[in-house]
Symmetry: C2
Amino acid sequence: MDEDKTTRVTVRNITDLARLAGVSPGTVSRALAGKSLVNTKTREKIEALAREHGFRPNQMASGLRRQKTGVIGVVIPLGHDSRQQISDSFFMTLLGHLADELTREGYDLMLRRVVPEDDADWLDRFIGSGMIDGVIVIGQSDQFDRIEDVADGYGPMVVWGNHTEGQRHCVVGTDNRLGGRLAAERLIAAGATRLAFLGDTTAMEFAARFAGAQDIASRMGLPPIITLPTHLSPDRASEEIAQHLAARASQIDGIFAATDTLAALCLTELRACGIAVPGDMKLAGFDDLPIARQTVPPLTTVRQDIAAGARGLVDLLLRRLAGEKTESLVLPPQLVVRATT
Amino acid sequence: MDEDKTTRVTVRNITDLARLAGVSPGTVSRALAGKSLVNTKTREKIEALAREHGFRPNQMASGLRRQKTGVIGVVIPLGHDSRQQISDSFFMTLLGHLADELTREGYDLMLRRVVPEDDADWLDRFIGSGMIDGVIVIGQSDQFDRIEDVADGYGPMVVWGNHTEGQRHCVVGTDNRLGGRLAAERLIAAGATRLAFLGDTTAMEFAARFAGAQDIASRMGLPPIITLPTHLSPDRASEEIAQHLAARASQIDGIFAATDTLAALCLTELRACGIAVPGDMKLAGFDDLPIARQTVPPLTTVRQDIAAGARGLVDLLLRRLAGEKTESLVLPPQLVVRATT
DNA sequence: ACGCAATTTGCAAACGATTGCAAGATTCTT
DNA sequence: AAGAATCTTGCAATCGTTTGCAAATTGCGT
């Protein structure tokens, strides 16, 4: 009979539960928070009641009072190429690992995609919302300056992207320039002498990859690397690649694609043009996504360690939340030789 | 001189701003919320001050008071196959579209991955946190019953997955069984008579795809379809597929893969075994991910309209938030014939 | 000028959990 | 058994915004 009554009661807040337990709200709060100040028997009673009624303290109220939310914001600026990018495997995989790491540290993840062109205020707005304790920015896109501005006044921010000499925001990323060198070295070692870079060099990461490749080309006394700009979305990119190939294929014998995704598309177009890989054309990608193993022939590429990147991002962010002043983290890329070079 | 003073003041809450504007906090709140009750000149003054100081109302406090947060939870239960799944292109693409749709509707997205085995309480915990206005569950995994339980007491929930006769939770998904029929029909039309299904049939969606294929096999008087269970993570799956092929390849002439990802891996293994596709073996996938166009030969598959799915999920969720009682939405799959059948 | 209606504002009580402080209850000393 | 020391608890303010209600201001017609 008593059971009927208790289960009928709805308990929506800590006060209701306190009434049931015959104690004050403060005690319930302390008990549920696992503080040591509360008597073991009282705690057990409260915990039992909480379990029985499926009670969970309201995170909003808690967040408001404690001035921390337990939520980390993850924002993806869609800068130069609004449409695609998010379904870019690389970012998505990174996001997955981030979710894992943050969960493991007891944080929730609030995801936001923004189009900086439409909303100049995107970063401040997110930070100022009071909803998040810190923010991870995935990709600098073309927003380097804005991120720099914010970094001066706001500590708990870490950015995935390219490290530039003297920058003020804390960044985690692969050494893209080195990666570019590795790719170019391999292409050249495989016999290529007239190289092209496939991808949009206005994106910082890509620019660095290009620059690395150019370093090597210059050092070896080869002609400057041609750039073949493309968008990232597969449908547009395919067309653009086809056009590039039609116009330039005869002038080059090696392609360094900014991304495995682009490399895979390029491979398809090359096949359509009847250009043999690696016979007539060497090809290298970047990222080492799963697809790199499945193209025909399998793709030579530069691997980024995504899991390590995610771990780095979260680790640095937590340190910054604790007040520490952290340096950027630059991860080494690794050449993976398969069959396109 | 006045400017110096005003810019020096930090304004962290609505009360500070009210002081500056010489009005009461209530008025500021109304002005910023765009309510009609406030005088135009006062409003403009307040808006100007807010802009000048970069003030943004605290979402936590607002959420607490209004009892709504403007955040939708998106949860991915990692049931039968913890590791991979999230980097599964399909889910990630869906997530991307969800982010777009929710943003467009003015909602934020809180992402959570859970391992139901470790945390039986995953769904209630999320819902009860007070942080989200509603929840979208991506994939039923093996948690059908738990979702059903919750659905009775909690309205604003929509699930991506398979629709089962008489279920109580609102679901959006492709007609997997029909999709399975389409795939099997095509395989058979291409000349296959002894079919196998590649994938783990304990996942509901996959089970339905298998059942659809079996429908057709039975109707045509063909032998029962063999199941070749695999995990979803590429590394494990590759091995498992190789083993399956070694053991069974001679007994079958058509494979229906639960997923394009699996189909692509399978294609690689088939090539390694020297089995010609579609000559010796027909192959069909499911999803129509970008990779389906890039395999060699390009993959015949069953397309799911991911964007429409995301739109459906968000649309139904919003309707439910408005109190409406909505039916499930079953989307038609579409056969895409390429070169593996 | 005056009264009445229509606009604008301010007041103060919510929303639900946390926490410093002090009071009350136990236990321990001597 | 009294007093000190230690545990437990309750009280009430606080986090920052919203909103019902009432007060104050304005506008309007006569």
